[in-house]
Amino acid sequence: MRIELKKRENMSSLFSVLSPFIALGLTLIAGVILFISLGKDPVAALYSFFIEPLTEVWSLHELAIKAAPLILIAVGLSICYRSNNWNIGAEGQFIIGAMAGSVLPVVFHGWESPLMLPLMLICAMIGGGAYAAIPAFLKARLNTNEILTSLMLVYVAELFLDWTVRGPWRNPEGFNFPETRNFADNAVLPRIIETGKTHWGFGFALIAAIVLWFIMRRTLKGFEITVLGQSARAGRFAGFSDKKMVYFAFILSGALAGLAGISEVSGAIGQLRPVISPGYGFTAIIVAFLGRLNPLGIVAAGLILALTYLGGEAAQISIGITDKVTRLFQGLLLFFVLGCDTLIHYRIRLIFGAAQKGSAA
């Protein structure tokens, strides 16, 4: 059996809507196979993984809290990927942003001012943006591969955070635990509604998604991003600068990752710790692709990926499977998404029997 691809005349609009759903379906099927092979009841397992977290109000709030950083990072990444800038170091930009935003509440502990929170958010965006500017500078100036440099900076950021919370920023009244002081009340990101835990990070995520959707759809900048991403050469003829676009895409996505970082630390954790992210920066790559690099699609995709985090925890408790399943599901999902995207541009034909003479397999 062979698989043959035939290029479609036009992009299939049907499959560009359907493909994420096919991918989700295939992931669920893979999940069923996985749970059966682990000797678990697949229906119960999938229920506790994907449905149970949606049945209680408090866990819906958890869902929003987990989705916030994923959406914020992923909408930034979508601009990068659309303009053909491969920033895969959002995890590092998240961490550096969180640290930059934490300077005020940790170092200037006790500063009572209503400016505290706004300044924290601004610092975080500057920190994340500046950290993302490093691979951007190296790419624009020297043509250095941005994939590798941005990824290497993730490891550096993780180690830097580890040193900071064990060393200079360790809580002097914290019995030597590797954590900073708890943020004072004026440094904590407020909740959106009084009755639930969802903080403003989720609000920022929705605002960012809508603003970027508008930019991509309705403005010249959005057109510039798309053109330069499809062909840098064509973009140059149109008078767009591909070098400036490198900076724009990286710094924007870095700033959003930084904002996600401080929102998580200030809204959900309340202090800095050696590890502040369960891989949000990498999961956001999946979110961006599942959302088809469309900011509004990313909101839906972010909620789905957030569900896999909650589902992993829930399934660990209720049916006793390891929460590592989460990472596995996430990886499988991205695989299926990328595979299904082929349907948008190509017709797929299965050919049975031996290869015809002269057609290379």
Partner: protein, 306 residues
């Protein structure tokens, strides 16, 4: 064994997985395919090697299992990027994410178990040469494989017809296809070779370097291997030099941590990653050399016309 010998030996041990993974990826990229999933294939090799060594009691079988696991895993990448022409960068990332997740699951029951170490195989007579004999001819089979791979790949790429065809595909898949070269088939083979090398490199980590299973134990080595290929401007002998340079950096920082020279350990641990960025920057300063050596079709999908 004196001190110098011991240090050189540890550098060689640290360099071997980088060398193997990089030489595999070099062949893949020479064929015009960019597989960013090295880290994922490597970690799958590591967990499979450890698991099979535990279950069978034979580290040798473990090494073979690592190789096969890496190769099978690379086929997933091949199917998506070569058959379904999915984006290579994104698929490579997916392979890494999937590999880290799957290996974490498989390896969960092996955490903390003492591992089996692949025994070294001294080569008769040669291993008795003073100083050098202990270093070069009294090593584990994976080390020998890594050196053979460098020599073999160098010969294959620049001295054999098949190697010429592979490079032609990497430079222009449309022209090569027009000349009747089997583009997709060759690329599948190259991707599988890369996967086997990465899997064996991972096996080296879990049954030679530190015989145990730790989650995410590859710690970015797959990415460093990718950087090495760029650094080496796609030449096998330069990959060898680069891998040993990196081995020296990572062992150097470990010794510095042990000596406690007043620099926080986290800063020293960051050195290999910073060094990677540094070499990438240095190599991109010489833009002409990069342009000449980069396979022109690197990362581009190929759909044969019918």
């Amino acid at each position: 064994m004196d001190m110098t010998q011991a240090i050189i030996l540890t550098i060689m041990t640290a360099a071997t997985p980088l060398l193997l993974a990089a030489i595999g990826e070099l062949v893949v990229e020479r064929s015009g395919v960019l597989n960013l999933g090295v880290e994922g294939m490597m970690v799958m090799g590591a967990v499979s090697a450890f698991a099979i060594a535990q279950l069978t009691g034979s580290a040798g079988l473990g090494a073979i299992a690592g190789l096969i696991a890496g190769m099978l895993f690379s086929l997933l990448f091949g199917f998506l990027t070569l058959t379904l022409v999915a984006n290579q960068v994104a698929t490579g990332l997916a392979l890494t994410i999937l590999g880290l997740g799957l290996s974490g699951m498989i390896g969960e029951s092996f955490i903390g178990l003492p591992g089996l170490k692949l025994a070294s195989v001294p080569i008769p007579l040669l291993s008795d040469i003073p100083f050098i004999g202990r270093l070069l001819f009294d090593q584990d089979p994976i080390f020998y494989t890594s050196i053979i791979a460098v020599v073999g790949v160098n010969w294959f790429l620049f001295r054999s017809r098949a190697g010429l065809r592979l490079r032609a595909i990497g430079d222009s898949h449309t022209s090569a296809h027009a000349l009747g070269v089997k583009v997709v088939r060759t690329r599948y083979l190259a991707v599988m070779f890369g996967g086997a090398c990465a899997g064996l490199a991972g096996a080296h980590l879990s049954i030679v370097y530190t015989p145990q299973w730790v989650e995410n134990m590859t710690a970015g080595r797959g990415w460093i291997a990718l950087a090495l290929v760029v650094f080496a401007s796609w030449r096998p002998t330069r990959v060898l030099a680069g891998a040993y340079l990196f081995g020296a950096v990572s062992i150097g920082q470990l010794h510095a941590q042990a000596l406690g020279i007043g620099i926080p350990s986290q800063f020293l641990s960051a050195l290999p990653y910073l060094a990677t960025i540094a070499v990438l920057v240095i190599i991109s300063l010489n833009r002409r050399m990069t342009l000449i050596n980069t396979p022109a079709s690197l990362g581009k999908s190929f759909v044969p016309e019918r």
